[in-house]
């Protein structure tokens, strides 16, 4: 007699839909530098679907790698996006649009800083000093883009949080 499956067909469908929405928005907004909806969706999906994100994020990462190649940036994605989902889960009782806008903005602002850890690790092959220097230079060069990322994330969350929350409340189970 088979036991109850941990992941149902409904879950698989839902996960597929979530990843499809993230990817679709990513491609559609690709022409705007560092303005993206991935952060927004990962926050919203974590708030509404909780632990299912443990499957959504890895599927999203695999698709990203398959589409754009498994480069150095992909290694940083392995910890950056799960971190956002984890922090969101930790703060899930918050309901203020301002709170989520600040969190999303802060994530955008620190995105380059977090990704720089990969550069530090790669550069440290020639010594930790070289690694730290390479990571620092890499992070500093991207600060204007991180600020744009911050502004984009903040505004998108501010504008979209309430309407999407209302829609998702009606469809979530």
């Amino acid at each position: 007699m088979a036991g109850k499956s941990l992941v149902t067909i409904k879950d698989i469908t839902l996960i597929g839909m979530m990843v499809a929405i993230i990817e679709l928005c990513k491609v559609a907004m690709g022409f705007l530098p560092n303005i993206e909806l991935t952060s927004f969706w990962i926050i919203m999906f974590t708030l509404f679907f909780g632990r299912k994100m443990m499957l959504v994020v890895p599927v999203f990462l695999l698709i990203e790698g398959a589409m754009y190649g498994f480069g150095m940036w992909w290694i940083s994605y392995l910890y950056v996006w799960p971190l956002l989902s984890l922090v969101t889960w930790w703060c899930r009782r918050q309901q203020s649009v301002w709170f989520w806008s600040i969190l999303s903005g802060a994530f955008g602002l620190f995105f380059g800083f977090l990704c720089a850890f990969t550069t530090v690790a790669m550069g440290s092959v020639d010594g930790i000093r070289n690694g730290l220097y390479a990571g620092f230079v890499w992070w500093v060069a991207g600060i204007p883009w991180d600020i744009a990322h911050c502004a984009g994330n903040f505004v998108l969350m501010l504008v979209m949080y309430q309407p999407i929350r209302r829609i998702m409340k009606n469809i979530s189970y």
Partner: protein, 141 residues
């Protein structure tokens, strides 16, 4: 309930302020540590024509904004004058003095063939500019 809302609003306000402060700190880090071009991004020339129509051309690669700074950077170019409300009024270039009171001589400043509309402290420097500093004497026979 109202107290909780006020507390929550206050916390969020602190959050916004902290985020803005971090952005400001990041901007400062960027301004301090971002890569600077090794060579000036503007290429200009400054030509000096003296009393005897002798010409010296200075070629510069610079990032300066105003002519006076460019003249300071030009290797070998010396100049002096009197500070005034319009900036430095040039009397002497490369040791050659133009004395207006004695013979109506002065140093003329041109940019790209046109007479400069500003003093050297406020004359902007753009890429490709060709400046001419020429000893000029009123001819009064």
């Amino acid at each position: 309930m109202t107290s909780n809302t006020k507390k929550s609003g206050f916390k969020l306000m602190i959050g916004v302020v902290v985020l803005a402060a971090i952005i400001a700190a990041f901007v400062m880090v960027y301004r301090t540590f971002s890569a600077k071009p090794a060579e000036g991004s503007k290429s200009i020339t400054i030509e000096v024509i003296g009393k005897e129509a002798d010409s010296i051309v200075y070629e510069l690669h610079t990032d300066v904004e105003y002519l006076r700074q460019a003249m300071d950077e030009a290797d070998g170019l010396t100049f002096s004058g009197e500070e005034s409300e319009f900036g430095l009024m040039i009397d002497s270039v490369n040791g050659e003095t133009a004395d207006f009171n004695a013979d109506g001589a002065y140093w003329s400043f041109y940019v790209n063939g046109e007479y400069c509309n500003y003093g050297i402290d406020t004359q902007p420097v753009y890429d490709g500019d060709q400046f001419l500093i020429e000893y000029t004497a009123d001819v009064k026979e």
